[in-house]
């Protein structure tokens, strides 16, 4: 069987259709990460080190001199250059004809309201010609709004000390307690952790799809090139033939996936490098995960990939050619994608959770969420054994259908169904 596995590996690894996407993955992720980080970094740097911005204050009635003086006094410190325009035409025409970073419209009656100590209303505008992160965050607008707010506050509070106190009377630290782990973590860290889980779930989904694609293509090619007949003629059990295919595909997928992961890590590094500059308290995930849970997660992950590879082999074996296999993969993956998406977004409750926890792949997604909040429980091991049993049953079924007689019958039925639909 070792030679059969070697054949599978060589045949797959030398196939450019299989291996090229894996080689390109790190490069694509590098480029994507570069583009994304550039966009994010420009926004982040705006927060960390504000740039000089040109502001046009459009007014509908005469504005008080002390307001003009205040703005001129703080302009250097706040890195703003203020211009004033009386609103004589439609705002959209002003925006169209002039070029400022931020526009502030002060409507009629604004200063009267302030005098009456009522909350005033202003409108901010900015221009954008492209859809990118920096253009929709409103960071520059907020800077100008804060200046106007401070003008109003200073108007009524003479002492700078009191002004600072009123502006920020409290410093607060939000912590979340995880009872099962007896651990206190900052809510900011927890948010980052959940973001990490979300990313991990997306990785698991992607890896599952990739391994299913490889295994189905590799098996469907055997049907398309009529080499499966020869394999089935060899004096070796059909179960071993299937197992060799499964293991070979699994090994090649692992090699490919490691390249994919390298690319993905590059992508995340570039992305996080750009967003973590102003962010403190990065999570220490390792502290929150006990070794048993980690071992459980790894075992579940391996079972998941085997499950997806087995599904791929079934799809490939039931397809006359690669095209049909690719067509069949879509609906099968969607069947898994919907519960997977449900698990990623929400937390399923019993008994749905119990069912999902026994299904490989979906189980890994739940484990990856639970591992951070709960410690290893014996029920987790039971779920793992359940999923292992499902894999064994699946492998047994495939071993049974791995005869030309059965495959031909099933292939004909599937082909007829698809031809009818087309």
């Amino acid at each position: 069987m070792r030679k059969l596995i070697k054949k599978e590996i060589l045949d797959l690894i030398r196939d450019p259709r299989i291996i090229l996407p894996f080689i390109f993955a790190p490069i694509i992720f590098l480029v994507l990460g570069g583009i994304a980080s550039q966009s994010v970094q420009s926004t982040v740097s705006e927060i960390v080190e504000p740039s000089l911005i040109k502001v046009n204050i459009i007014y509908e009635e005469k504005i008080p001199q002390d307001f003009i003086n205040y703005l001129q006094n703080v302009s250097e410190k706040e890195k703003v250059i203020i211009y004033f325009t009386q609103k004589e035409k439609d705002i959209s025409n002003i925006l169209k004809e002039t070029d400022y970073d931020v526009y502030i419209l002060i409507p009629k009656g604004f200063f009267e309201k302030i005098e009456r100590k009522e909350t005033g209303e202003i409108y901010t505008f900015s221009k954008t010609t492209e859809f990118r992160l920096g253009s929709i965050t409103g960071i520059k607008e907020i800077r100008v709004v804060r200046i106007i707010e401070n003008y109003i506050k200073e108007k009524y509070i003479n002492s700078t000390e009191i002004l600072n106190f009123i502006s920020r009377p409290l410093n607060y630290y939000s912590l979340v307690y995880l009872p099962s782990k007896n651990l206190l973590v900052s809510s900011q860290s927890l948010s980052s952790l959940f973001f990490g889980i979300f990313i991990a779930s997306i990785i698991i989904l992607s890896l599952g799809a990739i391994i299913m694609q490889i295994s189905s293509t590799s098996t469907a090619i055997e049907n398309e090139y009529k080499t499966l007949e020869i394999l089935l003629l060899l004096p070796i059990s059909r179960f071993k033939i299937f197992l060799a295919k499964l293991i070979g595909t699994f090994i090649v997928s692992m090699i490919g996936l490691s390249l994919f992961l390298i690319g993905f890590v590059f992508y995340l590094y570039l992305l996080f490098f750009s967003v973590t500059q102003p962010t403190q308290n990065l999570p220490f995930i390792s502290i929150a995960i006990d070794p048993f849970s980690l071992a459980l997660l790894i075992a579940s992950f391996v079972i998941s990939l085997l499950f997806m590879a087995s599904l791929g082999v079934i799809i490939g074996a039931l397809s006359n050619d690669v095209r049909l296999a690719n067509t069949l993969i879509g609906p099968v993956f969607i069947l898994l994608f919907f519960p997977a998406f449900y698990i990623i977004i929400l937390t399923p409750s019993s008994p749905i959770k119990d069912i999902l926890m026994s299904i490989p792949f979906l189980q890994t997604l739940i484990f990856s969420k639970e591992i951070l909040l709960t410690n290893f429980k014996i029920t987790h091991l039971i779920y793992l054994i359940n999923s292992l049993l499902i894999i064994l049953v699946l492998i047994y079924i495939i071993g049974r259908i791995f005869s030309l007689e059965t495959l031909l019958n099933l292939q004909n039925k599937i082909s007829r169904r698809f031809k009818k639909r087309i």
Binding site: K3, L4, K6, K7, L10, D11, L12, I13, R14, D15, E224, Y225, K226, T227, E229, I230, L232, L233, L234, P235, I236, S237, L404, E405, L408
Partner: protein, 242 residues
Amino acid sequence: MKAVEIKNLVKRYGYFEALKGINLNIDEKEIFALVGPNGAGKTTTFKIISTLLLPTMGQVKVFGYDTVNESDKVRKIISYLPEEVGVYKNITGYEYLDLIASIYFGNSSEYSKALELGIEVANLGSRIYDKMKNYSKGMKKRIQLARVLMTKPKLAILDEPTTGLDFEYSYEIRKIILEYNKKFNITFLVSSHNLQEVETISSKIAIIKGGLIMEYGSIDDLLEKYQVKNIEELYIKIIKGS
């Protein structure tokens, strides 16, 4: 012992009856030809003998082993060359033959002998180390023929082994069949649309049409029985007469 014994073999694909109860005996060490028009049931018969398909009714024995209940034993002593057979495009001819030899013989001394024989039958020179996607149709057929013969099977089933090949390749394949039949006492069951080829290599023949054996026996006996000069005339007379 008979190499192949077929008793009342029926094969249905859904409502279509591909074989309608055929009976056939093939002796050891002979080169037996199964001829007939397209769709007559030749490939179905071959696939049942080689354990790839199950009979709907009837029984097939290969050297005494039942193809359904003793398929593992049958697969050890037979080799089958399908008419349309592909190759693994990304592995070399050598790697392929090496795989086959190791599956049949493991690490025993027979393994290297089988590999040597395979390389000899393939006769591809240094091209044996090329990936098979670079092989011509004839080279692919030679590799497959090498795969069939390198294990010195007791029964080799060749479904139209020379179809689509040029004269030179066809001639070499016929030569190999005759040589290996004599040298290693391999029983051959061959199908071909080239009746002259059949006459050259076979001593016995069966003519199949519509899932039924129309006639079978030694070529000389049949020529005498139907009072015809050659196998082509015999074929036309039997097929048209039916």
